[in-house]
Subunit: 213 residues, 2 copies
């Protein structure tokens, strides 16, 4: 059965999944890359970014799993780019260059309408202005029975969690302190939403936990 | 040099170090024991509770380390017992029976004065009514150059952290969701307080992290 899932989401010891001060220079916020140290060396990440090699093992297994059977993605506006407010022009096409690592339709939540952007390699960015449920409906239709992955950022994941629309959440609990940033789970009662921790696997870089309904 | 430390403190995926509804039946709150699954099988825990055997390994190493060179403890009132308000009589002497596992002076924070209680095995409970700094001064004096361990509960640890009085914090990040409870780090900027993660060791039950100044 198709799922709505969040995967490979890093979280700091103090509960943040992004650092403060997101910008063009700091897409994950200041300190945010500390949450992703587990993924950078993996074969999945290295190959996605056009490098050869990369490590296999627990971290790579989880990184790879996040892409299995994904038929569409949903991203918040801030994960798509650093621009706020109306689109000044059509020049910003995401952080990922000409061939983004999605290879399926990607639905971007925004308050500002924009024509779809067809990228190389199968990724098309669609801009959705009528809310998270409309985006999910469109994504499920595009996914054609495969899973929908909520890519982030933090605010977007929180919205989908609070609306009870997420089936599975893979977090990589990272041995990093951020001090400030965007708290992923603060004020969200995952137990009341029906989640339990169904899997936990340590690596030398992180503790991977899977939360499922 | 002597340190003020917190050790073997469990924390859930969602950031809670105690469950809701603490009571005589649920000293760690409802669900709280899920945070301590890593410690129960250890040799340190088993021997402390008069059992033989127990497991060695990473979890036991951390459990044992928390007791090394500790000359005094500080506990919050709620960690000492479930009674709130004035002491009705002298009958409550802690959760731990005649011979508590401290074996050194223990300073209990309370608003209600009480005479010290001398227990078997070297533990004496002292009741401190003039605040966390007074308790720390007394504990350091009693420790005679050894470390002072802040035993808990959550509110007490938070007070000492916020006052900048803690040197080292060992957390066992546990693969459990509580949904509700007492958040350990919410609203506390450990980075601004000077902490970094200086050690992280996974076990099959938890990810151990040491935060130090």
């Amino acid at each position: 059965m198709s799922k709505v899932k969040v995967a490979s989401f890093g979280m700091s010891i103090d509960g943040f999944s992004a650092g403060p001060g997101q910008s063009l220079e700091h897409p994950l916020g200041v300190g945010g890359p500390m949450l992703m140290q587990w993924v950078f060396p993996t074969r999945t990440f290295q190959q996605m970014h056009g490098q050869g090699g990369g490590e296999t093992g627990v971290d790579d297994d989880f990184a790879a799993r996040g892409f299995v059977n994904v038929g569409a993605w949903i991203l918040g506006r801030n994960m798509f780019g650093p621009i706020r407010g109306p689109w000044p022009d059509g020049s910003w096409k995401g952080w990922w260059g000409d061939e983004p690592p999605y290879h399926v339709p990607v639905f971007v939540l925004t308050h500002h309408a924009r024509e779809p952007i067809v990228m190389k390699g199968g990724t098309t960015f669609h801009f959705i202005t009528d809310g998270i449920e409309a985006a999910l409906t469109a994504a499920k239709q595009a996914a054609g029975g495969r899973d929908v992955r909520i890519g982030g950022g933090v605010h977007t994941v929180r919205q989908y969690l609070q609306a009870g629309l997420v089936d599975e959440l893979h977090l990589a609990l990272s041995p990093a302190l951020l001090g400030q940033g965007e708290a992923l789970l603060a004020g969200i009662d995952l137990t009341a939403l029906g989640f339990t921790c169904t899997e936990h696997v340590p690596s030398s870089h992180a503790m991977h936990v899977v939360l499922s309904k």
